[in-house]
């Protein structure tokens, strides 16, 4: 407390500074934040709008790490003007309480919510949410993305060690948020078998349900409460919560059991925008049908329609949209052309059966495990002269210049799949001839053995031989999952920076030269991964390892196409590329939609 008071006294004396771009942690909360009060003059305010009490080791602790109020410039300027007016010099001055009260009365108000639903899967909800987040962010609003319920193949780890869907992380980036949080994606479904899913709430296992149990017990019980709690949490802190629906909101056979769409909008009191993908045709029917099948009390929430992904002349749609507006009484906010931007792969690509991606010369075979996870790991490779092919059978390996074995939700089952269809033997045949890298589950398979004596992975107690490229043993001990965010450096090559995150069952005993040294929040860097350069074999638990240029360049330096090394030119972080593309995406939306109307519907204007 003394330390905080001292810092606050310095801040009071120094006065207003706005954003501090010189700080190595900037922006620690959001882009454009006010940094004048890095230490809060009101701590601990004990106001549950801004924080909550946490049980610490030495009793209760006030936790307000998620508070954004003290980082809003008008608030900060008001506080300084009051401090000056009252002549306050010290953090312990009791009159500060009154200033907080006045600041809250003057500047705090509950945020609004806006929901984007789609007429179909793949309607473009995710990118629309991302675009709206960026459009609002660019106008100075504090925005948070939200999706109540997710079953995602691609996920990321938050600062607090919770797992949330990759797409909400991207949307948070569009909103200028530095640390996306599990509040943005409170319910995560992890399929455990054909019928049972593990329900995770805020990154923590909640309970296993089958389909019936989920809809009949979870949804009407804890489900609704969870959605409410987290939307409210975000509304307390942000000007607008931009929510994403799931699938179609007009599946009338399960309408009452759906907490991802109109029900969530009702809970959050959100206005709704309907997005329709024009590409397949029938968009007017999809739009009108969706609007009319939604019961009237919820239909009233739909305030706008966006026709997305138009190829060709958007003005040709005009006569149709006029008629659609007349029939539905809902304005068409925008006719958005197909946006050619680089964004992470979507889950649906795997489901749609996309086989080849990218147009680079060298061909990387990606083993398409039946339970493949986090294949967004590969996206940064497309910045280079690389294309990928998904390998589902032995012949798909023909002509590949390198192999990536990606993550999987079930290492043992997917390894057995690969042994059975001959891909494992084919990989053994290519070993030492072309570079092979395994990430997470793929890395576990490269070891000597996979010990599933407890039957965690495959349901039966057994120890399996792996590919044997590394002298490593992976043990699937008790049912527990490693969820960690990491930073560090390559232990090989140019020792450049890397970032990554771990999401795995099983712990590996490694007897190899490490690939990376992880040094974030650690006094002693921790070795991780395995490498045998002379055998062209690499493995790591770090998802996202291709994002920074260091490992991308290092790995590709071993890849040859037609006997020639390939060019690696892009020295950029994948993160920077995404940033540029989010801006481009928002521009496409902005240029083709009625932004004024959007701001009205979002309810962010006074």
């Amino acid at each position: 407390m003394e330390k905080i008071a001292k810092k606050v006294n310095e801040e009071i004396e120094r006065g207003w500074i706005g954003s501090d771009h010189s700080c190595p942690y900037h922006p620690s909360h959001f882009k454009g934040q006010d940094c004048s009060f890095c230490y809060c003059p009101f701590f601990p305010c004990n106001d549950t709008t801004f924080g909550w009490e946490l049980e610490g080791r030495h009793g209760p602790v006030w936790n307000c790490s998620d508070c954004l109020f003290i980082h809003r410039t008008p608030v900060v300027k008001f506080i300084y003007s009051e401090i000056e007016r009252l002549g306050i010099k010290d953090a312990k001055d009791p009159r500060l309480d009154g200033i907080l009260k006045d600041a809250k009365a003057k500047f705090w108000k509950k945020g609004r919510a806006l929901m984007v639903v789609g007429a179909t899967s793949d309607a473009g909800k995710s990118v629309t949410v991302a675009a709206i987040c960026r459009i609002l962010h660019n106008r100075g609003y504090l925005v948070a993305p939200f999706k109540s319920q997710n079953m995602s193949l691609n996920s990321k780890v938050t600062r607090h060690g919770a797992e949330i869907a990759m797409i909400q992380v991207l949307q948070a980036k569009a909103a200028g948020i530095t640390n996306p949080d599990a509040h943005m994606n409170p319910i995560l479904l992890k399929p455990k078998g054909d019928t049972v899913s593990q329900v995770m709430v805020c990154g923590k296992p909640f309970k296993d349900y089958d389909v019936e149990g989920y809809y009949n017990e979870f949804v009407p019980g804890p489900g609704i409460e969870i959605v409410k709690e987290h939307v409210e949490f975000l509304k307390d802190r942000y000007d607008c919560v931009v929510m994403e629906g799931a699938g179609s909101p007009a599946e009338i056979n399960i309408y009452d059991k759906d907490i991802a769409n109109m029900r969530a909008a009702r809970i959050a009191d959100a206005n709704v925008i309907l997005v329709v993908n024009v590409e397949w045709g029938g968009s007017f029917a999809y739009a009108l049908g969706t609007v009319e099948l939604i019961p009237e009390e919820d239909r009233k929430r739909i305030k706008g329609i966006i026709l997305n992904n138009v190829r060709g002349d958007t003005s040709k749609m005009k006569s149709g949209t006029d008629e659609l507006e007349r029939l539905t009484g809902i304005p068409v906010l925008g006719i958005i052309p197909h946006a050619d931007v680089v964004l992470p792969s979507e889950d649906s690509e795997a489901l749609r059966g996309v086989r080849k991606k990218g147009d680079g010369k060298s061909l990387i075979g990606v083993i398409k495990f039946p339970r493949m996870a986090n294949f967004t790991d590969l996206d940064p490779l497309f910045l280079e002269d690389v294309s990928t092919v998904f390998v589902e059978k032995v012949e798909d390996l023909d002509g590949v210049d390198a192999i990536v074995m990606p993550g999987t939700k079930n290492t043992v089952s997917d390894y057995l799949w690969m042994e059975k269809n001959g891909i494992a033997d084919a990989i053994r045949g290519l070993w030492k001839k072309i570079p092979i890298v395994g990430i997470c589950g793929g890395y576990q398979m490269m070891g000597k053995t996979m010990d599933d004596s407890n039957g965690i992975e495959n349901g039966v107690s057994a120890v399996y031989e792996g590919l044997g490229f590394f002298d490593n043993t992976t043990k699937f001990g008790e049912y527990s999952k490693q969820i960690i965010q990491n930073e560090g450096k390559l232990a090989v090559g140019d020792c450049g920076e890397i970032t990554g995150y771990e999401l795995h069952m099983g712990i590996s005993e490694v007897n190899e030269k490490p690939l990376v040294m992880l040094d974030r929040f650690r006094s002693d860097p921790q070795p991780e991964g395995s490498v045998r350069e002379d055998e062209l074999t690499f493995g790591t638990y770090q998802h996202g390892i291709f994002d920074k240029p260091a490992f991308r360049k290092y790995f590709l330096s071993f890849v040859k196409h037609d006997g020639k090394p390939i060019q690696t030119e892009i020295g950029k972080d994948y993160d920077e590329i995404l940033e540029e593309n989010l801006e481009a995406l928002a521009k496409v939306f902005e240029d083709n939609m009625d932004v004024e109307k959007l701001l009205d519907i979002a309810g962010v204007r006074e």
Partner: protein, 275 residues
């Protein structure tokens, strides 16, 4: 009977082929027809014309030889905004921005071909094109609204459940069809379903009661796809075996067997077709 789709790739071609095959097996003299096709995949018929490949497959399913009248208008994109119009099997003209298709003429030719086909066969199974209710171009539609209007043919709607929103799509399609033509829309089919069929029941009944259309059935996800007509859908055709024809027919037979098992209402289909 005319088979309309809620979008491109909804499964019109497959459903038509299956129905052709079914009716043929029932001893009915059935022939496929598609008023207008936008496709690069065409084949030459024995009578020396060019038609879309979908109708050729459907003709084989019906056990007859493909002929020009099955697809009187074929539009072949030749790039740079130019589309070649193949009329009655023969190249007719290039359609460009400045030289649009003579819609009235084309529809008239389609009507004539339809009449010729109808006089030669007991029944016709017609396939629509894309969605019939693209509000911005319904007035120049040939294969869907055009055909409904000039022939009075009864119709059903096929919706693809795989991408979600199928109830909205079927209802919305029905609702946007001009009111005077709506009585011709007698039924609908849900295509590409996976999972437990009973879960759909309340929704199917609701659509039936809202529209008066009858649900003919729910077709399960099948990997049977045809060499695609339009460039939008990916081709996942799995026609195995040396003899493509017999493999294709065997696949259709299998599909019909599954449909029968799942209670597909083939009698209802025949009734709509006036058989």
């Amino acid at each position: 009977m005319l088979v309309l789709g809620t979008s491109s790739g909804a499964g019109k071609t497959t459903v038509c082929a299956m129905m052709c095959r079914y009716l043929k097996r029932e001893g009915i003299d059935v022939a496929p027809f598609k008023g207008s096709n936008l496709s690069l995949n065409s084949i030459a018929t024995k009578d020396g014309g060019e038609i879309g490949i979908g109708q050729a497959f459907q003709a084989w399913a019906a056990g007859i030889e493909p002929e020009t009248d099955m697809n009187p208008v074929l539009l072949k994109p030749s790039g740079k905004g130019v589309i070649q119009l193949v009329l009655n099997g023969k190249p007719h003209s290039d359609i460009t921005k400045d030289n649009p298709m003579d819609y009235a003429m084309a529809l008239q030719e389609v009507k004539k071909a339809y009449d010729r086909m109808e006089s030669r066969h007991q029944t016709l199974l017609c396939e629509g094109s894309g969605s019939p209710v693209e509000l911005n171009r319904m007035d120049v539609d040939i294969a869907n609204i055009g055909l409904l209007r000039v022939t009075g043919v009864p119709a059903i709607i096929v919706g693809d459940i795989e991408r979600g929103g199928v109830f909205a799509a079927i209802y919305g399609t029905w609702r946007l069809i001009p009111e005077e033509l709506r009585p011709q829309i007698k039924g609908f089919v849900i295509n590409r379903f996976r999972g437990e069929g009973s879960i759909l029941k309340p929704a199917l009944e609701k659509i039936e009661s809202m529209t008066g259309m009858k649900c003919l059935g729910v077709l399960r996800y099948e990997y049977l796809r045809f060499p695609e007509e339009d460039s939008l859908s990916s081709s996942e055709g799995k026609l195995e075996g040396d003899d493509v024809h017999s493999a294709f027919l065997a696949n259709l037979d299998e599909m019909i067997d599954h449909a029968v098992e799942d209670g597909f209402d083939f009698d209802g289909l025949k009734k709509i077709a006036g058989l």
